[in-house]
């Protein structure tokens, strides 16, 4: 463990813009499972997030990717303190905010904001856009020059909405516009860190690009740090300086965007990247198809969490949990939790890794029939001669 902790805060490469803003160490969230009649007792726990370490520097965008249910959103909610961490530490600008109560958290409340996934649920249907955006400012005693209304109009313009929409209600807007209102609400607090919890996954694809570009523009202009949670690899690549790959409550690999997307080491990262469709069909990529589902977080596998679906898993993986560290051949700050890492390339290899038996059988049949027909035609041509 000591190795892991010492390496959790690595010297970061060029994209780093300032000192560390948010440091997360060993962050853990276990949701207790209770059972029993009248007297409930704990029979287990959903280990949603289990010992996650990462650092976000000022003005930096950290992407967090992974399958559904791997603990991405829970991590976001822990960092914003919407959920109470079971263990670990959250340091914001050096202050420990892991278990701070509401009153003591007040000074930094405005600095950590969140953009929610569902723009239809994140705005109060009974409040006007103006009230929605000014409410948080009032709570935090933010007095913008020129009054709240002027500030709201400014913010609406900033996020690309008509400032005259001040008096409108959320139901009068489309999903993309609502998400912009949510962004304006977060911006009104002048945050230093925004947790974007799948901010575009509920939107149309045509709108997604607009919203992501808006966020990126804000990030560049206002220097806001982002924890960008998403399952869309292309969007994360577009948006983030650094990327962390999560699997079953743990970070499998973390590093610069180019490290993760071009020279990934962890087999899971390879599988994840190969699952994303490539725009250019001539671009030869390695092909990995995993089988089965993510194991239950109530009873995760021993050792490496990915071992049940990994094609390189060996005895060591069941007994020993691989620490997250910089393995040989990695750039600085590129940490991988794997005993038997892959080669740092995503180029196609000689043989595909197809673990899905159904798909393997299908491809086998196709191949055989292709061979048969080839043989037949060869025989036919031979007979002719």
């Amino acid at each position: 463990m000591s190795e892991q902790l010492s390496l959790a805060k690595p010297a970061l490469p060029s994209q780093r813009k300032g000192g560390p803003l948010l440091e997360v160490e060993g962050l853990t969230k276990h949701f207790p499972l209770r059972d029993g009649f009248l007297f409930k007792r704990q029979v287990g726990a959903v280990q949603a997030v289990d010992g996650v370490d990462f650092t976000i520097h000022e003005g930096e965008a950290l992407g967090l990717v992974g399958e559904s249910g791997c603990g991405k959103s829970t991590t976001g909610r822990l960092v914003t303190r919407l959920l109470e961490p079971t263990a670990g530490q959250i340091l914001y600008q050096g202050h420990n905010i892991t278990h701070t109560d509401r009153k003591h958290l007040a000074p930094i409340r405005s600095q950590i904001q969140m953009i929610f996934q569902d723009p239809y649920a994140s705005l109060n249907p009974r409040q006007t856009v103006g009230t929605i955006i000014t409410g948080p400012m009032e709570i935090n005693h933010i007095q913008p020059p020129g009054g709240h209304e002027k500030r709201v109009r400014e913010l609406l313009e900033t996020v690309g909405l008509n400032p005259e929409h001040y008096n409108r209600f959320p139901h009068e807007f489309s999903g993309g516009q609502r998400q912009r209102i949510g962004i304006a609400r977060a911006l009104g607090m002048q945050p230093k860190l925004i947790i974007a919890d799948e901010p575009v996954s509920a939107l149309d694809v045509s709108i997604q690009a607009q919203v992501v570009n808006l966020l990126q523009k804000l990030q560049h202009e206002l220097g806001i740090a982002f924890l960008f949670i998403a399952h869309d690899l292309a969007i994360v690549r577009h948006f983030s300086h650094r990327v962390a790959v999560m699997y079953l409550g743990k970070i499998m690999e973390i590093g610069n965007r180019t490290d993760i997307y071009e020279t990934p080491r962890h087999p899971y990262t390879h599988a994840l990247l190969s699952a994303a469709p490539e725009a250019n069909p001539d671009d030869e990529q390695e092909r990995i198809r995993l089988a089965g589902d993510v194991p239950s977080p109530i009873n995760p596998p021993t050792g490496c969490r990915f071992r049940t679906r990994c094609w390189k898993a060996q005895q060591k993986c069941t007994t020993e949990e691989p620490p997250l560290l910089q393995i040989a051949g990695n750039n600085t700050g590129h940490l991988t939790a794997c005993h038997y890492p892959q080669d740092p390339t995503t180029a196609a290899r000689d043989e595909d890794v197809v673990l899905d038996p159904a798909l393997a059988a299908l491809e086998q049949n196709a191949q055989e029939s292709a061979e048969e027909s080839a043989e037949e035609s060869a025989e036919g041509s031979a007979e002719e001669q």
Partner: protein, 339 residues
């Protein structure tokens, strides 16, 4: 802040440039709140508007009963039938149709000979007064308990929920009949003459005691679903206090439910109150009361059906109008509900 540069950047993205164009047409864009929309929908619903008029008329009658009776020139206590010899030796009105004439519009009561119109006006006043108090108190407590249950959750929710179950398992009518005298005995010695307001108070208390559970159940379920919505989390994220979240974020969203429940609860309470008076544990003679009129009328209905007619029709109209109003209000507030 580089707000000016941001603003221009924002303008580039949006083709219908905000500041320049919209300055020419100010006040054009005014959002309609969900409540305003509901009001527009309600105004289109003819049944609802008519029922609202009828309900309003009943409420006005209840408020202005003394004024109406003063204009009418009668009061509900004078025994006109006996004083003016309008009753025969059996105590029945001499004139046909229960003694309806230009003096006594709805006829006179058999036996005592009081004016039925005046009795009905004052009876509506008493019954509506009691029911309104019961409804307001029940809704207030129901909302409070429901909010606490839904928002606090966990053990509080469990124990308050079991208390609600316990209250719901009481047989209501039996409880009212058994406990109204008990509550009155708490305040008045058996030897003393009981003041009317004590009985009023006791009736409100007893009905309120078993009247809040349905509202609390409903509010709890609403709060449970609302609490998980992301706008509540957004409010928590800004550091809003629990009180602010409850009052500014949750309550406005359950307001429509509360309104609909209130309009549906009131007629139920009116009939319950009338039922209690009919059974003899409600208001007592000579206090005019809707239910008491039924009780009296039931004694004479074989020989004088007219007496039953007026309070009966009035109650029927009231309950139907109020229920239809409740339906219309619900439709207006929540047009997506499929009935």
């Amino acid at each position: 802040m580089s707000s000016s540069t941001q603003a221009t950047a924002g303008n580039d993205q949006i083709p219908e440039g905000p500041s320049a164009d919209t300055a020419a047409v100010p006040l054009e864009i005014i959002g309609r709140s969900p409540r305003q929309l509901a009001w527009l929908r309600f105004k289109r619903d003819r049944t609802g508007v008519i029922c609202a008029g009828i309900v309003g008329a009943f409420i006005l009658i209840a408020i202005f009963a003394p004024l109406i009776c003063a204009l009418y020139g009668k009061n509900p206590y004078t025994l006109y039938g006996q004083n003016d010899n309008l009753l025969n030796s059996y105590g029945m009105p001499i004139k046909p149709n229960g003694g309806i004439d230009s003096n006594h519009w709805f006829g006179i009561e058999p036996g005592l000979g009081r004016d039925i119109f005046a009795l009905l006006m004052y009876g509506i006043r008493t019954s509506l007064g009691i029911s309104l108090c019961v409804t307001i108190l029940s809704v207030a407590l129901g909302v409070l308990v429901g909010l606490i249950q839904g928002y606090v959750g966990r053990k509080t929710d469990y124990f308050l929920g079991r208390l609600t179950d316990l209250m719901m398992s009481f047989p209501q009518q039996l409880f009212f009949i058994a406990f109204t005298p008990v509550v009155i005995a708490l305040f008045v010695k058996p030897t003393e003459q009981e003041p009317t307001y004590i009985r009023f108070f006791a009736l409100v208390l007893v009905q309120f005691f078993l009247g809040w559970m349905s509202v609390s159940r409903l509010v709890r379920s609403q709060v449970l679903s609302l609490r998980e919505r992301e706008f509540v989390e957004a409010a928590q994220l800004t550091g809003a206090s629990t009180w602010r979240i409850v009052s500014k974020e949750l309550l406005p969203n359950i307001g429509s439910t509360i309104l609909v429940q209130t309009t549906l609860l009131l007629p139920v309470n009116v009939t319950t109150e009338a039922g209690l008076s009919y059974l003899g544990v409600g208001m007592q003679d000579p206090t005019p009361d809707w239910g008491l009129m039924f009780q009296k009328a039931a004694e004479y209905y074989q020989s004088d059906i007219t007496y039953m007619f007026f309070p009966g029709i009035a109650m029927l109209i009231f309950v139907v109008a109020f229920n239809l109003l409740g339906d219309s209000v619900r439709d207006a507030l929540d047009p997506k509900t499929i009935r």
